[in-house]
């Protein structure tokens, strides 16, 4: 296990709500963006001189453009309902990691400069002046929020701290105090087309390699096409799917499903990234610029449908925002939703009985499923509310014999974040990532001990990467996290593929 300069929380049977310890996470903030990371996004390279006025002006601008921000800043009654709902508070005990504590960092300034009570009676209503220290506090704690929306489920007014975090990050970016991790990645997408900076030829190479692997394994020529004009389906998937474990096994699975469905499909080197970190930094403009690549690719390749691969926040941007940002998609086939999730696609085929599975291929595992926060609380799959919980589980159960859920308070709409979402998946924030994983790790550990779970499946690139990193901190192993379509890939029997049974029968016949 990696050496740490912080204490890894111990796992107990329950996650107790801790007594608060002020300021214990104040030291942690991510690396600050350099001018090279800021400027391609149209943000100033470094902290501007008149940051005080610019901050207030931006706050004023945002609250006039986002009803969410304006209402959420006003409406909180400090009821405390959200205080014990954030995994980062549970894992760190820092009260500024309580959702309302986090919101108040911005709300105090809003009250001081934009409300009657705060202007004239600041002490009475807890309003505070904007100082240089305020900015550092914001920078620190708004980068300890994974924008998972768990708090918004429990708030009587649905106050979503994610919205406040996004606004705060947008303000910080606009005064030249951005986060390196997110902004560097967005700049890479603009330049190369994906978060990892993989150029087209490298992608083509990788995909060819996958085709060979699948052929060796199954004897079937499954294609992993790139930039094929006139294909029916454009698949947009997170770039981690192109090589990292266990992501790539998921990509192999999508290809096998498309192959069996008999549809023509392609990926695009122009839109070789489903992720859209523009959301994390709350920047409508940058989120739109990233999204437009999907539209451009769809038009250029002349596809009829768009399908997204396994990625949580990407599915949020795709499902909830794509039509707004890059629509209308009237040039696509109106018989299918735009976009579709790969799990919806696979589940449709399963329901129609078009896929053959050998479930025993997954018998060496007992699985559970981690609901990714963005999928759970910000999107849907299928026609019915809650389809985002049922459809991935239906897919898993169709390809695995052993499946159990984790504790019901930790899944579905109440799911706990993996700890690495919202632009925190960077080594400089390892401490908060590990500590924030505590509630999920607790639930998983319990499922391991009580129900014999061996593996946890997920449909999010960030979740998968995060768990790969943090599982070892909690005494589990990195390969316990798997892709849902990896399970599909294991079990699917391709038409014409020889199974082990066939082979042994043949041998008998010969002998």
């Amino acid at each position: 296990m990696a050496k740490t300069d912080f204490e890894v929380p111990e796992l107990h049977e329950y996650v107790d709500v801790p007594a608060l310890e002020e300021g214990v996470m104040a030291h942690l903030s991510p690396f600050v963006a350099k001018p090279d990371h800021q400027e391609p996004l149209n943000f100033p390279g470094e902290l501007v001189e008149d940051w005080h006025d610019k901050t207030l002006a931006k706050l004023d601008d945002l609250r006039s453009r986002y009803r969410s921000l304006q209402v959420y800043l006003d409406a909180c009654v400090k009821c405390g309902s959200c205080t014990d709902k954030c995994h980062y508070y549970l894992g760190t005990k820092d009260p500024k990691n309580m959702p309302v504590g986090r919101q108040d960092l911005l709300r105090k300034v809003y009250r001081r400069y934009f409300t009657f009570a705060g202007k004239y009676f600041p002490k009475l209503v807890g309003a505070e002046d904007l100082t240089r220290e305020t900015l550092d506090d914001w920078y620190s704690y708004y980068h300890q929020c994974s924008q998972c929306r768990r708090c918004s489920v429990f708030c009587p007014y649905g106050i979503d701290t994610a919205e406040i975090s996004m606004a705060a990050r947008e303000i910080l970016d606009s005064i030249g105090y951005g986060q390196k991790y997110c902004n560097e990645i967005i700049a890479k997408v603009f330049k190369i087309g994906n978060n990892l900076g993989l150029p087209g030829p490298a992608l083509a190479d990788t995909l060819e390699g996958l085709e060979e692997d699948v052929f060796d394994e199954t004897g079937i020529e499954v294609k992993y096409p790139l930039d094929v004009k006139g294909a029916d389906i454009l698949l947009v998937t997170p770039s981690a799917d192109f090589f990292a474990e266990p992501h790539v096994d998921g990509l192999i699975g999508y290809g096998k499903v498309f192959h069996e469905a008999g549809v023509s499909w392609t990926m695009s080197s122009h839109a070789s990234e489903a992720a859209n970190f523009g959301m994390f930094i709350g920047s409508y403009e940058n989120m739109r610029r990233v999204s437009m690549r999907v539209r451009e690719a769809a038009l250029e390749l002349g596809v009829k449908r768009i399908v997204f691969g396994e990625c949580g926040h990407a599915w949020r941007v795709a499902y909830s925002f794509l039509n707004t940002l890059a629509g209308p998609f009237d040039f696509l086939d109106p018989d299918y939703p735009v976009p579709q999730h790969i799990c919806e696609f696979t589940n449709d085929l399963i329901e129609k009985g078009k896929l053959n599975f050998d479930k025993s291929a997954n018998d060496h595992m007992t699985l559970t499923f981690h609901d990714s926060c963005n999928v759970a609380r910000a999107t849907r799959m299928g026609d019915k509310p809650g389809g985002q919980f049922e459809i991935p589980r239906a897919v898993i159960k169709a390809v695995c014999n052993n499946y159990v859920d984790m504790h019901h308070e930790t899944i579905g709409e109440k799911t706990y974040c993996c700890g690495g979402g919202g632009g925190l998946l960077t080594d400089d924030l390892m401490e908060i990532r590990v500590k924030g994983a505590l509630p999920r790790m607790t639930a998983l550990k319990n499922a391991v001990e009580e129900q014999g779970v061996t593996h946890m499946a997920a449909i999010c690139a960030i979740c998968k990467s995060q768990f790969t990193k943090v599982l070892p901190y909690y005494g589990m192993t990195m390969d316990q996290i798997v892709s849902v379509h990896q399970l599909v890939s294991n079990a699917i029997v391709l038409t014409g593929q020889k199974t082990e049974d066939d082979e042994s029968e043949e041998q008998e016949a010969e002998g």
Partner: protein
């Protein structure tokens, strides 16, 4: 003295109505550029109405969260609601039948309200997380409401006031022909604090009342794939490029 109160109430009413109207107009005018309902969310407008109904009447989300806050909060609000309905009799004549019918329950409602408020106050003082997020105003709101409730109960059960006079006074306010108020201490306390409440309402966290109806995470229909949602400023941005 009665004239002072009459003027105070007229001013307070104006502040309350105009202040709230301004906030509501602000909320209504501010666009919500993206679809952000907390899912699973209703897929129809009727579903959204039901969701808001459950939120406003039962405090559904709070119920999911912490039972103690829910019990006290719900007791307080339902008590408040009945008490306010009961108070309608001071302002109209004849009194509508439904208002007449709830009069007997209204009495207990006053106790429920004060008890709920006391519970919320205890929670605010003793739960470290809630204490941490509380500003002085958060305690003062609870105290204000407790004293309003307590003075009301005093009048009801201990030091009766002349309710007929009170009614004449407030009913007369409609036509600017108020009579005089009984000069009873509990009543004057009650009324003074009510004026304060009305004046502060639009500048305070009581904005949760309009806020709950305007919260995009609760009032949006979950249909982004079916229907394109575009804010005016986002449209302008699109046309620029």
């Amino acid at each position: 003295m009665s004239t002072v109160y009459a003027l105070l109430f007229i001013v307070a009413t104006l502040v309350l109505v105009i202040g709230l109207a301004r906030k509501i107009i602000q909320y209504a005018k501010t666009p919500a550029p993206l679809k952000i309902p907390t899912t699973p969310a209703p897929t129809t407008q009727a579903g959204v109405v039901m969701r808001l109904f459950r939120e406003v009447v039962f405090f559904e989300s709070l119920f999911k969260s912490t039972k103690w806050t829910w019990i006290f909060g719900w007791m307080f609000h339902m008590g408040l609601f009945l008490v306010l309905l009961r108070h309608v009799r001071y302002f109209i004549d004849p009194v509508w039948l439904p208002i007449q019918l709830i009069q007997p329950f209204g009495i207990y409602a006053g106790f429920a309200m004060v008890l709920g408020l006391a519970g919320l106050l205890v929670r605010r003082i003793f739960v470290d997380r809630v204490r941490y997020i509380s500003a002085p105003s958060d305690y003062l709101w609870l105290l204000l409401l407790i004293v309003i409730g307590f003075s009301g109960l005093m009048m009801k059960f201990v030091a009766h006031t002349d309710v007929v006079m009170v009614k004449q006074f407030f009913h007369g306010l409609w036509t600017f022909s108020w009579g005089s108020l009984p000069m009873d201490f509990p009543l004057l306390v009650h009324l003074t604090l009510v004026v304060i409440l009305m004046v502060l309402f639009p500048f305070s966290k009581l904005l949760h009342v309009p806020g709950v109806f305007f919260s995009p995470s609760r009032n949006q229909v979950d249909n982004p794939r079916e229907k394109r949602h575009l804010a005016p400023w986002a449209k302008a941005l699109e046309e620029q490029k």
